[in-house]
């Protein structure tokens, strides 16, 4: 269908390299509805290479025990694996080991920060600077995933603070012209996404962090769609907190990461309380360990951290800059292919902004569920619906969209297949003009 066979569009990987990468992902050989699987739903969850599965199996077959308790050999081995994994992830994002808190997923990480601030605001410990109340403001953006919106709505409701948002322009970029009037001396928290899970646009973290710092607000970065796809240096970005999920970056489900600047983490009271996060406990009260253990109550997920560390090593071996280059080329091919189809509107095409290998679109006259069903019939897996970003969809006047999202194992041919599929869907549903 396309004549975009220019070698510059094949990205950083040679055909042989890409074949080798794909061979690590057994599931990519699956046949779905009689056709080879074309998996373009990595924005929802990534597939896992055998190295990750092997690492989890090895852990369970050789090292499994509860961590940070017990004096036996396996307990020591398991604790070592658990803390080694923390160090691997810390290095991957440019953080210190004790700035990495394990969570179940990014959603839990954001809730942890919101509830810890809430607990500080109730006088349950922590630094005065992290207490908020009436007159204070929390700022998010209009493009947030519900996970980086609702916890702040709830925090505002609990504390009496006001929630505001930075709107987005028609091209999908943030309306930075209004940044200074929205993020003010009243702003205590500025929470925003690094890469939109719907638009694929990379937000200007430096601009937002500079403004937050100027007014003394704490920044919370949703890195769910950047950590898997871009080189991420949280210290260089200068954010105070960041979250991401393991399952979107080749790791298992059930493991997520909260990064917090060391002094800030130690200024926060805990969110979940219980075993393994205390020093001294009496019948009346308890003293808490410093971060990260303060935020890791109860029996921890261990094999998942081992799996995530294996995933990070896999990504590092391939090279994040090459992955980013590969995906940027796929993203350009995807957007160009879709935007050229009659009746297709790609959401958010801000010129000059970097984007990842992800695009969401509306096919006029055909609901996204029907587009997705048509593509599934050809073995093509895409996401349909509002992608947990209803306000963003409302902003663009649509209820739902179809989203194709690539990863390091995706190919240019797969991108062409989805574009062909959308064109044929228009014919099938009778909306070809």
């Amino acid at each position: 269908m396309t004549d975009t066979t220019s070698p510059t569009l094949t990205g950083a990987f040679s055909d042989a390299e890409l074949r080798d990468i794909r061979a690590d992902f057994a599931i990519l050989g699956t046949v779905v509805n009689g056709a080879p699987l074309v998996y373009l739903d990595s924005g929802a969850t990534s597939q896992k290479p055998r190295q990750v599965l092997d690492a989890e199996r090895y852990f369970y077959e050789h090292d499994n025990a509860a961590v940070h308790r017990g004096a036996h050999t396996l307990a020591a081995l398991a604790t070592e694996s658990f803390e080694d994994a923390r160090a691997v992830v810390a290095r991957f994002v440019g953080a210190a080991d004790d700035e990495i808190v394990w969570t179940s997923n990014a959603t839990e990480g954001i809730n942890l920060v919101a509830y810890a601030i809430s607990n500080a605001s109730l006088g349950r410990g922590g630094d005065d600077a992290l207490r908020i109340g009436p007159g204070d403001e929390i700022v998010v953006t209009e493009m947030e995933h519900h996970a980086n919106l609702i916890p702040w709505q709830e925090l505002a409701a609990r504390t009496g603070a006001t929630l505001r948002f930075i709107p987005i322009l028609d091209d999908g970029s943030l309306d930075l012209g209004r940044l200074d009037s929205i993020v003010t001396e009243r702003t205590r928290v500025l929470a925003f996404t690094h890469v939109s899970n719907v638009l694929g646009i990379v937000n200007p973290v430096d601009v937002l962090v500079a403004r937050a710092r100027a007014v003394g607000a704490v920044t919370v970065l949703d890195a769910c769609q950047s950590a898997p796809h871009l080189t991420l240096d949280l210290k260089a970005l200068g954010v105070d907190f960041a979250v991401f999920s393991g399952h979107k970056m080749l790791g298992p489900t059930g493991i997520g990461v909260l990064y917090g600047r060391s002094e800030l983490l130690n200024d926060l009271p805990p969110f979940l309380t219980g075993g393994s996060m205390i020093t001294t406990v009496t019948m009346e009260s308890a003293q808490y360990l410093p971060a990260p253990q303060r935020f890791e109550a109860g029996t921890q997920r261990v094999s998942q951290t081992v799996g995530l560390a294996a995933a990070v090593r896999y990504l590092e071996t391939v090279g994040m800059h090459r992955i980013a280059e590969h995906e940027a080329a796929l993203g350009e091919r995807l957007v160009a292919g879709l935007a050229a189809l009659p009746g297709v509107t790609v959401l958010g095409q801000a010129a000059g902004l970097h984007r990842v290998g992800l695009a969401s679109f509306d096919l006029a006259g055909v609901h996204s569920h029907d587009v997705g069903q048509f593509l599934d019939d050809r073995g093509i897996a895409v996401r349909v619906g509002h992608h947990c970003a209803q306000p963003l969809h409302r902003r663009f006047g649509v209820t739902s969209t179809t989203r194709a999202s690539a990863y390091l194992y995706s190919t240019a041919d797969e991108i062409d297949q989805v574009v062909d599929g959308v064109r044929d869907a228009a014919t099938f549903f009778g909306v070809t003009r």
């Binding site: 509805n33 609901h367 569920h369 069903q373 048509f374 619906g385 209820t399 549903f429 009778g430």
Partner: protein, 151 residues
Amino acid sequence: MSSTELQALYQELILDHSRHPQGFGLKDGAAAQSHQVNPTCGDEVTLQLHVEPGTDTVTAVTWEGHGCAISQSSASLFTEMAVGLTLPDLQGRIDLFRTAMRSRGAIEPDEELLGDAAALGGVSKYIARVKCAMLAWVAAEHAIAQVNAAR
């Protein structure tokens, strides 16, 4: 090119109803109305049952909403089927339809009782789409419950 399963799912009858839905547009004087949302996709329907005063007989079904071809055609086909039935009969048809939808393709919808809505039988093989087909029917069931509760 598409599979026979896909063509069975999106029969011409279903696509026609989704493009030209019956009963679309709310009207005054309904005996009850219900608004239902499919949280996975944001699809919505507001459905009204119009009942002949002093009787159990459905005189009209009107509705508004937006969604996929399955949910829109299903609301339209429901409208056609429901008119003239008594409320207990209508509840019986809803139960029948739900059983077929949840059967994963094992039960063919009864065309005698469900009329053209039986064409939605193909949906039951696609478990992710059953909610789409059920949306208007769930709204109608809720509306029937309201009419009964008010008596």
